[in-house]
């Protein structure tokens, strides 16, 4: 593929539907259902109800109206030329999921699953949350639709993300700090499953990402694919061509699947997922499940995960609480194994550099999760800069969320603010040292004090 290839605009009457998963939720060898029998009936009920709902014109209309009137869709795409100067002169467009109500792409999925909850006649929703974005989105949808709501959140994360805990409580949700295991997202998921298996008669589990047992990976993908369906049409309309590459950060992988899905049939479009490389995949302190993990079973599905020789899940590390998860959605594992998508790690330092760069060049504070995708854009743009071609490469990146929640983490990283009273931010252990010189752009905040402030 050359970077100058102009992809002819293609008219599609119906969005292209991937041929996976199969009827029982398998993406190649990945996915499936590895759950206690007690949950099978509920998963079957969800599957049936979801399939009926997605073909129901009344649902389609209600979902579209919520997107438009409540979330604020379609989210725009924004070209970022000052940022792109640091990306080898590529043309870079952001898909602005950060502008959604509640501040991230999570709301897309939650509204769909909340409607499904009402449809199956349940009155209570539960959810897991890491950074708190999915918890806030679920609490929001529960308030909107009059559902009772309980959010499980690792005790570590409730401390690191106190602002989002307060938001969820303001919205009327109960937030339960989880004190088992590593006290982070994976343990919050375990606890939510325990609640579900106990209260399955009254309760629906609103899963936050494209992982978990069938039908969650398929259903969440379908609810999130609006990102790519919109973006594909928007990029075609604005530039007259398809992008050369579509980039997104990958934790569980819902924002990435959301923007990838529309482009999967477009063979000329590279799909690149950026995993959280933490201190570097070589250090063992990272959350890059595909780049640095092996296939196994976790949280109800077969996929790549971080595990030791005994099959125990190992702890992940990332500055981004939303990517700090030792597994990944099974569809990503499949896209990786069939070679349709590429997955690359981005370290904490690279992500924070890109974070600062977008703030200073474009006036947009991204979520640290999304900053991983931005770092991938910088790197890819520079790789492509040397290639022959008349036209600069066109890169589309999913800006999956905004960075309000990350202000404390970023302040600490960059050595801003009152150093005596700043709590460690998401993903930052009390003993973790920010990388010196993380901010290298002349436009960005000077980072020379960062080493002392942690």
């Amino acid at each position: 593929m050359t970077t100058s290839a102009v992809h002819p605009p293609e008219e599609r009457l119906e969005p292209a539907q991937p041929s996976w998963p199969d009827a029982t939720g398998h993406f190649g060898v990945f996915g499936g259902r590895f759950v206690p029998e007690a949950l099978v009936a509920a998963l079957d009920e969800l599957t049936e109800a979801y399939r009926a709902m997605r073909a129901d014109p009344a649902f389609i209309e209600e979902f579209a109206a919520l997107h438009r009137d409540y979330t604020g869709r379609p989210s725009p795409i924004t070209e970022v030329p000052r940022f792109a100067e640091h990306a080898g002169g590529a043309r870079v467009w952001l898909k602005r999921e950060d502008l959604n109500h509640t501040g991230s792409h999570k709301i897309n999925n939650v509204l769909g699953q909340a409607l499904l909850t009402k449809r199956i006649g349940k009155q209570r929703v539960i959810a897991e949350t890491g950074a708190g974005q999915h918890g806030v989105a679920t609490a929001t949808a529960a308030a909107l639709m009059g559902l009772s709501c309980t959010i499980y959140m690792g005790e570590e994360d409730t401390r690191r993300q106190a602002l989002n805990v307060a938001r969820m409580r303001l919205l009327g949700a109960e937030v339960v700090p989880v004190t088992t295991g590593s006290r982070t997202l994976k343990d919050a998921i375990n606890e939510a499953f325990r609640d579900w298996v106990t209260n399955v008669g009254t309760t629906n589990y609103v899963f936050g990402t494209v992982a978990g047992p069938h039908p969650f990976p398929e259903m969440v993908r379908d609810f999130q694919r609006v990102i790519g369906d919109e973006a594909r049409a928007q990029v075609l309309e604005r530039t007259g061509r398809l992008p050369d590459a579509v980039l997104a950060c990958v934790g569980g992988g819902s924002n990435a699947i959301g923007i990838f899905t529309a482009f999967v049939p477009d063979d000329g479009v590279r799909l690149i997922g950026l995993e959280a490389g933490g201190d570097g995949v070589g250090t063992g302190r990272h959350a890059a499940s595909i780049t640095g993990g092996t296939p196994g079973v976790l949280h109800g599905a077969r996929s790549y995960l971080l595990q030791d020789e005994n099959g125990q899940t190992t702890e992940s590390h990332s500055i981004s609480a939303g990517l700090d998860y030792p597994g990944v959605g099974p569809e990503h594992s499949h896209l990786h194994d069939i070679g349709r998508a590429e997955y690359r790690p981005v370290t904490d330092a690279e992500a924070m550099e890109a974070f600062a760069l977008l703030c200073r060049t474009e006036g947009i504070i991204p979520a640290i999760e999304s900053a991983h995708a931005l770092a991938g854009v910088v790197k890819l743009g520079q790789e492509l800069a040397g290639r022959a071609g008349d036209e600069p490469p066109l890169l589309l990146v999913n800006l999956s969320g905004r960075g309000d929640k990350d202000v404390e983490t970023a302040s600490r990283w960059f050595g801003l603010g009152d150093r005596e009273h700043v709590e460690p931010g998401a993903g930052m252990d009390t003993d973790q040292q920010p990388t010196e010189g993380a901010v290298t752009s002349g436009d960005a905040v000077a980072g020379q004090d960062a080493g002392e402030s942690a």
């Binding site: 009827a23 029982t24 939720g25 499936g32 259902r33 590895f34 759950v35 206690p36 029998e37 007690a38 099978v40 009936a41 509920a42 998963l43 079957d44 599957t47 049936e48 399939r51 088992t180 295991g181 994976k186 343990d187 375990n190 499953f193 325990r194 298996v197 106990t198 399955v200 008669g201 069938h214 039908p215 196994g296 079973v297 976790l298 949280h299 109800g300 595990q307 030791d308 020789e309 005994n310 099959g311 125990q312 899940t313």
Partner: protein, 298 residues
């Protein structure tokens, strides 16, 4: 679609395929055509009682002490010991078992330790069955696990998060090595799934009596009895009841309608509260007396 009917058909099909494959392999060894677990339960039945099945995880408080506790459970009267494989994400277990398993995971307890416990339980004269979430088995290698478990004298394995629909590799490996396989049924299981799951089981069917995670409960409840009756209606394989039994009286109650009584958290609590192997032995004695005075089903 994942309708009940289709699910049932696919389970049956894969079990049948696995059985076909093994019927050829089984030519070489017909001496062990009978399930070890079923034998143990049948022996109890011949004495007019239910079997007592004890669960303890390997590695709490350490590997040797956990093995000593398993042997004590046998000495106190357990017929079968579920040898628990520690796992980092025990989604079906309540706080008691989590608390015991967590240090074992951190200590790096693995399948080698589990197999040693299996040998010890078998040497103590009881039937050893491994209880494991699926990933530790998959990571060890399904065929390798089956071969090593058989060599260690284990009867088979209980897999709480593996449903027969996903179990093709385990069905084949367990057949090839003449091992029992125990899957779970739950009050929410449809009749079609009950039948399909029971068909895939060998040894016994594990009736998870209450909807919920492991842990002791004040009352066992009617759900268990109803689930056993529904399961019995579709299979001749013995049905054992787990989740919630903690003392002799509850064991007697369950023994009134089930072929076996499974006790886990109550045993683990003996260790957590520092009563050690002696506490485990005393609990076994209480429970073993319970399964010998079944309360007649209503």
């Amino acid at each position: 679609m994942t309708s009940e009917g289709d699910g049932g058909v696919s389970i049956a099909a894969s079990a049948a395929e696995a059985t076909d494959g093994v019927e050829r392999g089984a030519e070489r060894d017909r001496s062990r055509a009978v399930s070890r677990l079923q034998e143990a339960i049948d022996e109890a039945k011949a004495e007019g009682r239910a079997a007592l099945v004890a669960y303890l995880p390997v590695g709490y408080p350490d590997v040797d002490a956990s093995i000593a506790a398993m042997v004590a459970a046998v000495e106190g009267g357990a017929d079968v010991v579920e040898v628990g494989v520690p796992y980092s994400d025990p989604g079906m277990d309540g706080p008691v078992i989590q608390q015991a398993v967590d240090p074992a995971v951190r200590a790096g307890v693995g399948m080698r330790d589990v197999l040693r416990a299996v040998e010890a339980v078998a040497a103590a004269g009881a039937t050893a069955v491994v209880m494991s979430y699926w990933n530790p088995i998959e990571r060890y290698g399904v065929d390798r696990f089956a071969a090593d478990l058989a060599a260690a004298g284990g009867a088979g394995a209980i897999t709480p998060d593996l449903i027969p629909d996903e179990a093709a590799a385990w069905l084949a490996a367990s057949e090839a090595h003449d091992l029992d396989r125990v899957f779970l049924v739950a009050p929410s299981s449809t009749d079609a799934r009950l039948a399909a799951t029971a068909r895939a089981c060998r040894g016994f069917v594990y009736a998870a009596s209450t909807m919920g995670v492991t842990g002791t409960r004040a009352a066992v409840g009617d759900a268990a009895e109803e689930l056993v009756a529904r399961t019995r209606a579709v299979t001749d394989v013995p049905v054992c009841v787990g989740l919630g039994v903690s003392n002799g009286d509850q064991a007697a109650e369950v023994a009134g309608f089930a072929d076996g009584v499974i006790v886990g958290s109550a045993y683990v609590r003996e260790l957590l509260e520092g009563r050690g192997a002696d506490g485990v032995r005393r609990l076994s004695e209480d429970l073993a007396a319970g399964v010998r005075r079944p309360v007649a089903a209503q």
